[in-house]
Symmetry: C2
Subunit: 114 residues, 2 copies
DNA sequence: CCCGTATATGTAGAACTCCTACATATAATA
DNA sequence: TATTATATGTAGGAGTTCTACATATACGGG
């Protein structure tokens, strides 16, 4: 995850990071660093999830009760905080997806001059 | 455009307002109030373009050289500032659309777990 | 063995966009 | 006459993201 010299990636669409994190956690519990990797890889490296965005986001999600966390050990043997999505988090994810789709459709209509 | 009593509309996707305004202006020059109406109507009232978002955005766009403005008279006979998109603004719009599409595709890939 | 890179978490502060709320003014309508 | 719609604008706060920094360990190459 060294930043230096890597080509400039596009910014996250503001407001979508929480949705991407929650979605990533629906598959399995993951620690923060792995979540970031997942999102970067799945997005084909369009996104970079910066630490300064990631950890505050995870704190936000936990504070809202959408994820829980526990210290554990990563596959590489280092300490890592694993996050698990809650039932409430899954509901929230569903709502965020609906809202996102709705907004996307609206943007599309404006952009098509429909 | 009275806010009181109207049903809650969803927020704009942060960062997309400039694109929507520029797109609206590709058809014809419009004054701010009309731009807001256009976006609201075209979006099927999904969006509300607040004055506190609209006018700073227009100032931003003008400062960047993507629109120009002149005082004129609206169809209702009131003074209004008409905005015209510039060649530079059209190029910017093209770039914003490309970037938006790229980000959207990336989000889609993450959400599909592709 | 040492050094750089990857792994891993976190904070501080600035930038940016958006929202709420306010202020002002005129034309049209009830 | 009073309210609503039209029309522009500012001030201040909220929220998310980014840059930059701080810390620490594991691993691989030289």
């Amino acid at each position: 995850m060294t930043r230096s010299g890597s080509p400039k990636k596009s910014e996250l669409l503001k407001g979508t990071l929480d949705m991407l994190i929650l979605k990533t956690l629906t598959v399995q519990p993951l620690h923060g660093y792995a979540i970031a990797q997942q999102i970067e890889e799945l997005s084909d490296n369009v996104f970079t999830v910066e630490q300064g965005s990631l950890y505050p986001a995870l704190q936000r999600l936990q504070k809202s009760g959408w994820v829980t966390s526990r210290w554990s050990e990563s596959p590489t043997g280092r300490r890592a905080r694993y996050y698990t999505i809650t039932a409430s988090g899954r509901r929230q994810l569903g709502q965020e997806i609906s809202s996102f789709d709705r907004v996307l459709l609206a943007i599309h209509r404006v952009m098509e001059g429909a």
